[in-house]
């Protein structure tokens, strides 16, 4: 039995969802680590893009900014933000990863503010950045996030990035590209998907050593559960070796736990 921490677990699980010969736009941190890991094990031809213009770099180490020089180190292209965003809008980007301060049962994400006064918020966060664009325009949106009641909440203070908005058909009604939307939420407790019909979060697998009660306790809304609930497959030795030795040797991300 391998020892691993929550961050390592989440990164390994996320990496398995990135299919070979697909395109993913990532930011810094855990998503970037997941994409690098996927590329080294499962999907050698995974195309990694960064919103500031980096196309297919051979990442020498973790970028600290989605626009720093590592994001186009020995890359296939060094392009621009409009080019990457337009590539998303054209429907060429399969996956993206997002984070946030709050998320609701439809996968709507808040990374803008806490409070109700927009001009003088109680707590101000950076805002959309590219998150809204990526969550609107990429086909499948994933999240890697710790799970607790404060974060997984019934009503979020501000919808920065669209999930399924108010439910089935709402994205299309708003004008967002049909067929796009939240795909998986990977937390420290479980892997969550979205119900095909009602578009609400549905737990797909529980991590080893975690319980249904623990997940319910850490969620501010009612979760759906798949009929045949599985245990998440823990990190494999190969995944951990490469993650620790090649992807994040200085433990910038996996040491953050």
């Amino acid at each position: 039995m391998m020892e691993y921490n929550n961050m390592e677990l989440m990164i390994c699980l996320a990496s398995r969802y990135l299919e070979d010969d697909s395109i993913v736009v990532v930011g810094t941190g855990a998503p970037c680590a997941a994409a690098m890991l996927a590329q080294k094990i499962y999907s050698p031809r995974l195309m990694i893009m960064f919103e500031a213009g980096g196309i297919g770099p051979l990442l020498p180490s973790m970028p600290i900014s989605v626009g720093d020089s590592r994001t186009f180190y020995r890359a296939l292209g060094a392009s621009s933000m409009p080019d990457i965003m337009e590539t998303c809008q054209r429907g060429l980007v399969d996956y993206t990863f997002l984070g946030g301060a709050q998320i609701d049962c439809y996968g709507n994400i808040n990374s803008t503010m806490i409070g109700d006064n927009h001009q003088a918020p109680k707590v101000r966060f950076p805002g959309s950045g590219g998150a809204n664009d990526l969550g609107s325009l990429c086909w499948k949106t994933m999240m890697i996030t710790p799970q607790d009641k404060r974060r997984f909440t019934e009503k979020i203070d501000f919808i920065t990035t669209p999930g399924y908005l108010t439910g089935p058909g709402a994205r299309e009604e708003a004008g967002l590209p049909p067929g796009s939307g939240p795909y998986k939420v990977i937390t420290n407790l479980c892997v969550i998907g979205f119900d095909d019909q009602i578009k609400k979060m549905k737990v797909e697998s529980i991590h080893p050593g975690r319980t249904r009660e623990e997940i319910i306790e850490n969620t501010g809304f009612e979760l759906l559960w798949v009929d045949e609930l599985e245990e998440s497959e823990p990190p494999r030795k190969e995944e951990l070796d490469i993650l620790r030795n090649e992807v994040d040797p200085y433990r910038y991300i996996i040491g953050r736990e």
Binding site: G29, S65, T71, S80, Q89, T112, G127, N132
Partner: protein, 340 residues
């Protein structure tokens, strides 16, 4: 303060605002054309000047500013510091991928309105407490957008238009606090948001090299600078090095910003410090961390700003204060040898 929302109401056009955000700049393409016709230099003249002169002559209190690069990558730090030293007031800012640039301008109390895509954070480095306090205090007027929306607002201006239809922001609070307008595609009936063209009063961009006329080359990603350069009414270029015009003519395909977009040229070696300059030097993470740490207390922040901005004569003085050539050489090694 003049908002262009009111101007829109006066027109007899039916439109449905998606949000209540203020539009800080005039999106009118015809007025922009007149400005470009009458004010932009057609003549290929030398434009080399100093940071001091560029800032005092081209940036006025109340102007709306667009900053090139990406927060702490290829940013025109020397000009940003000079804006702070000269205590410019009531500037508007395109908070497009803004990180350390936002931090500098907010520390100087220079901004009173901001189009937000990304502010107060420094990406993986964390959040700026000082910038956050300033925004939470309500002292800066805020309109929400996204990175793509601001990029496309620049692009609309660069195209000489007054708006572009986009498919982001739809259905969200980001749109509700933006200045976007709902629209229907006249060909397909698809729902889009229209975002107004963004013509900043001043654009400030740091490049790898340019000639004395302003013909500029950038190595690596452009972020949104090809469009910002075209959208800006006035454009200040700072450059790592000045090069002969002959070098430009040898590889014309590398000219990202031609001279007729440029109003001032300043040679500023290490001009993106403490930001990253691709292929030249990496960001100074220690210094950025020191800055964020100094923000824990107003007194330490005051001392920090005094030591690095107010108390030094110019950008070279700043570079001396952070360790001079020895430190810069370390950062250059970090960039070109690639951190092991």
């Amino acid at each position: 303060m003049r908002y262009y929302n009111d101007l829109m109401k006066e027109r007899r056009v039916t439109y449905k605002p998606a949000g209540k955000g203020k539009i800080f700049t005039d999106p009118d393409a015809d007025r922009a054309r007149l400005y470009f016709r009458d004010q932009k230099p057609r003549k290929m003249t030398e434009k080399v000047t100093t940071v001091q002169n560029a800032v005092s002559e081209m940036i006025n209190d109340g102007d709306y500013v667009g900053v090139g690069g990406f927060g702490a990558n290829r940013i025109p730090t020397a000009v940003l510091h000079e804006i702070v030293r000269r205590k410019k007031k009531n500037l508007g800012l395109a908070g497009h991928t803004a990180t350390h640039d936002f931090q500098i301008l907010v520390a100087g109390g220079c901004i009173n309105r901001c189009d937000i895509a990304y502010i107060v954070g420094l990406e993986a480095r964390g959040l700026s407490k000082m910038a956050r306090r300033a925004v939470e205090s309500g002292s800066i007027e805020l309109t929400e957008w996204t990175n793509a929306a601001v990029t496309w607002r620049y692009k609309a201006a660069a195209m000489g238009l007054s708006f572009l239809p986009v498919r982001c922001m739809l259905g969200t609070d980001t749109a509700k606090y933006s200045g976007a307008v709902e629209m229907e595609c006249p060909f397909t009936g698809a729902k889009y948001l229209a975002v107004p063209a963004l013509y900043p009063d001043v654009g400030i961009i740091h490049v790898h090299r340019c000639d004395v006329y302003g013909n500029s080359q950038i190595d690596g990603i452009l972020i949104a600078d090809q469009d910002l350069a075209r959208a800006a009414k006035r454009l200040i270029i700072t450059t790592e090095r000045l090069i002969p015009n002959e070098v430009i003519r040898r590889e014309p395909a590398k000219t990202v910003i031609p001279y007729y977009l440029v109003d001032a040229v300043v040679e500023v070696p290490f001009g993106s410090y403490p930001g990253n300059m691709p292929y030249e030097y990496f960001s100074d993470e220690d210094h950025l961390r020191d800055w964020m740490k100094a923000e824990n207390d107003p007194h330490t922040l005051k001392d920090f700003l005094e030591r690095h901005i107010y108390g030094v004569k110019d950008f070279n003085g700043y570079l001396d204060a952070i360790g001079g050539i020895a430190r810069l050489q370390e950062l250059r090694n970090l960039e070109t040898l690639v951190e092991k």
